[in-house]
């Protein structure tokens, strides 16, 4: 597997996966957000085709779907990395050292918050409060909370779990 394989394949989005979701929410008012959430669970992000499909199936305008999808921080309109690191920048974490964590990951992986590394391995997200304030500063790697992080520890963790093809050049 080389890094360039990542987007080369560009496999078409399988829209049929959405059918059960539409069935579950059919006729429910205000179901747009839960449907977007389920769609993101399925595809890991919200592909344009899926937004279009949701608009058609719910009989609402694409502009509304897009407006909602971009309003909420939870939704991603671009493919995300194989691994997702969330660094909590809630107040408790912030005062206990989140900025240093962010800088460390930025430098090591050459990626800014909200971005994915070029090799598609890691997405870095900075979020406000995951509610683990007592474990500040807290990070979440692929859904697993890691509390009381220090930059060195975090980088060690990441080096263990995330292959790092795009970083060598610097």
């Amino acid at each position: 597997m080389t890094a360039s394989d990542g987007d080369g394949g560009a496999s078409a989005v399988d829209l049929s996966l959405m059918e059960p979701v539409f069935q579950k929410y059919s006729g429910q008012p205000g179901a747009l957000i839960p449907i977007l959430q389920k769609a993101q669970d399925i595809y890991n992000y919200l592909p344009a085709e899926v937004l279009q499909l949701i608009a058609e199936r719910l009989g609402i305008a694409l502009s509304k779907v897009y407006g909602v999808a971009t309003f909420y921080a939870q939704f991603y309109l671009e493919r995300r990395g194989k691994h997702v690191l969330k660094i909590c920048d809630g107040t408790a974490c912030h005062v206990k050292g989140t900025p240093a964590l962010i800088t460390a990951v930025e430098e090591e992986f050459n990626v800014r918050p909200g971005e994915t590394t070029l090799d598609g391995e890691l997405t870095l997200e900075v979020v406000y409060c995951i509610g683990s304030c007592a474990l500040a500063p807290a990070t979440v790697l692929d859904g697993r909370v890691m509390g009381r992080m220090r930059p060195t520890q975090l980088l060690q963790h990441l080096r263990r779990h995330v292959s790092k093809t795009s970083v060598q050049e610097t």
Partner: protein, 615 residues
């Protein structure tokens, strides 16, 4: 106030009932905090270990909600001894079972030690962290399995509902809540009963009951812990509210960032429905109500009730001007009652024990307890429930155990990004809606963050303003543009480019935002900055006039230096510096090139010899 001595956590006899508990059981905290610290693994290990010893039927391993003392998690409590083990790992399980359960010998190394005397403390309620607490909303947390409705029922659960349905008219329920003096725990402190009354009086149907569990304050997790630890109390409160105002359906709007809370709520709703507490003709009475969870999708502004309802409707979370208030025109234009998680959680207790019981708790005009997520630069971080009227000092020093490493207290922020900070001089302020407000801070929904001398108040203020910018919905110009301008100005100051006029500009912007913004987010977003400016103006001035960050936090105003005498030339810093700003020969003192240094602080953290300092 404040004469409390070792009050038991579950202090009120009326609330306590242990009749259904097995003689010996082990509570394992399964709140998010402890789960993050691998408490699930500990629980699994305990079950296996007990099984190995053939004790499965005698000793119950119970998953419970949050004990509050998250800093010490994972927490395991052995009942009936009430021995409190902290930071338990799966590896410790063998000792717990073999020593404590089988040999009745406490595992001392796992017990919490007094931070000063270093003496192990046995019972949980003897720990300083719990000393001044009074747990009403949290009284089931740490005791019951939140995924087991029988546990809740065994603790007088749903009795208030039964009482309401069998004995009280909706108006009587509302009167009782009004008489109790309960004020909304979402931050505003509006009388809950009055809100219900207005919603009841609006002659349009359907009506909705909505629970605001969109706890977006960074640094707050009261609602999460309540939902995770005792979801039925909130559900029961909502059913009673629905009965009182005449609603058929309700929603709990919960942040998607709280998957465990949502899971527990879902389990609780299913069980409640199964037992006939939700659905058509509840418990055979002529009253029907059902409740659904709506997951938020990551927008702080959705904690604002009108934005929250927009979000439930599937729209962008833009707030709407009030009036009309939700009680008149809310969800889908219908009368709607929106309360915070904790407000609902109080209701079953008030109904069961009476308004008079509730009124005598806490402070005058501010009855009841307050729940805070105590975090930041304090030894005992965690979730606390204290009587209204307790002072900030008691919370920070008696419960929180003071500031770590002997550093100096600087400020305490309540109300999160919409609140304010108070300096040392205000530490004896009683904690209640009115006193905090008078002191220039707010009660907020329950975040309490302690800052010490290493916290730069300008940076702290900037942090909150960045948060406000990120979370502004963008609908109205004062907030959308005003917050941006405030942030830019603060960035200027922390970058060492500020002028004294900038301070006036900040005040001007803050005033404009407060007066002009549509919703509380915009109106209150300047508060952290303004309170910091009020109490710590000299720190702002130091950034501007002396180009200096007294706390050593603002990158542009500090430099990292290596103290040659202490440097051993181990090269760890140089190897790890992301910008290769550190040079030096092996075993020779190193130097940092300030031009290359990004001030990430990695070197200082890595240095085993404390040779790197901030200037």
């Amino acid at each position: 106030m404040g004469e409390q001595t070792n009050v038991r956590i579950v202090e009120d006899a009326a609330l306590t009932s242990t009749k259904d508990l097995p003689s010996q059981w082990i509570a394992v905290c399964m709140g998010t905090g402890c789960v993050s610290s691998a408490s699930a693994e500990v629980r699994q290990a305990l079950i296996q270990e007990l099984e190995r010893h053939g004790l499965s039927s005698q000793v119950e391993v119970r998953r419970t909600g949050c004990f509050g003392f998250c800093a010490a998690g994972p927490i395991v409590v052995i009942h009936p001894d009430e021995t409190f083990y902290t930071r338990v790992t799966p590896a410790d399980v063998k000792d717990i079972v073999e020593q404590h359960i089988l040999a009745n010998r406490r595992v001392e190394r796992l017990m919490y030690r007094d931070p000063v005397t270093k003496v192990p403390i046995e019972k949980w309620y003897e720990i300083g962290f719990y000393s001044k607490q009074q747990r009403i909303v949290l009284h089931n947390c740490g005791i019951i399995d939140p995924e087991n409705i029988d546990h809740y029922l065994a603790r007088e659960g749903y009795q208030a509902l039964h009482k309401v349905l069998s004995e009280m008219t909706p108006d009587q329920v509302i009167d009782e809540v009004i008489r109790s003096g309960l004020r909304g725990r979402g931050g505003g402190g509006f009388p809950t009963g009055l809100k219900w009354k207005i919603t009841r009086q609006t002659p349009r149907w359907p009506k909705y009951v909505i629970c605001n569990a969109d706890e977006g304050d960074p640094g707050a997790f009261m609602d999460r812990s309540t939902l995770e630890g005792d979801p039925h109390s909130v559900i029961e409160g909502m059913i009673i509210a629905a009965y009182a105002i005449g609603a058929r359906y309700g929603y709990i709007y919960c942040r998607a960032e709280y998957p465990l809370a949502i899971h527990r709520l879902q389990v609780a709703l299913d069980q409640a429905r199964q037992r006939g507490f939700l659905g058509g003709n509840i418990r055979g009475f002529d009253f029907s109500f059902d409740l659904y969870i709506k997951e938020g999708a990551g927008a702080f502004v959705c904690g604002e009730e009108t934005a929250l309802m927009a979000s439930i409707q599937g729209d962008r979370g833009n707030p709407w001007p009030r009036p009309p208030y939700p009680a008149v025109s809310g969800l889908w234009g219908q009368p709607s009652n929106v309360n915070n998680v904790k407000s609902y959680a109080y209701v079953p207790h008030i109904i069961r024990l009476g308004a008079d019981w509730f009124k005598q708790l806490g402070a005058p005009d501010n009855p009841g307890t307050a729940i805070f997520a105590l975090t930041g630069m304090v030894n005992n971080t965690g979730l606390i429930e204290v009587p209204m009227g307790i002072t900030l000092r008691e919370i920070i020093y008696d419960i929180g155990g003071g500031i770590p490493d002997g550093r100096k207290f600087k400020a305490v922020q309540t109300g999160g990004p919409l609140g304010g900070c108070l300096p040392e001089a205000y530490l004896d302020t009683p904690v209640d809606f009115d006193s905090l407000c008078a002191a220039g801070a707010v009660m907020g929904s329950g975040g309490m963050i302690v800052a010490d001398e290493t916290t730069c108040m300008v940076e702290f203020a900037k942090y909150f303003m960045r948060f406000a910018c990120d979370e502004s919905c963008g609908k109205c110009p004062p907030c959308r543009i005003g917050s941006t301008r405030m942030l830019e100005t603060l960035e200027c100051i922390t970058a060492g480019l500020g002028t004294l006029e900038d301070l006036d500009y900040l005040r001007y912007l803050a005033n404009g935002m407060q007066k002009g913004s549509l919703c509380a987010l915009g109106q209150l977003a300047p508060s952290p900055v303004m309170s910091a400016l009020r109490h710590f103006e000299d720190e702002f001035r130091a950034h501007i006039e002396e180009r200096r960050c007294p706390a050593g936090k603002c990158h542009a105003l500090i430099t990292y230096e290596i103290i040659a005498d202490l440097c051993t030339g181990c090269m760890v810093c140089a190897r790890n510096c992301p910008t290769n700003a550190i040079r030096g020969e092996k075993r020779q003192p190193h130097v940092i090139d300030p031009a290359l240094c990004e001030r990430c602080g990695l070197c200082k953290e890595l240095c085993k010899f404390d040779a790197i300092v901030v200037r």
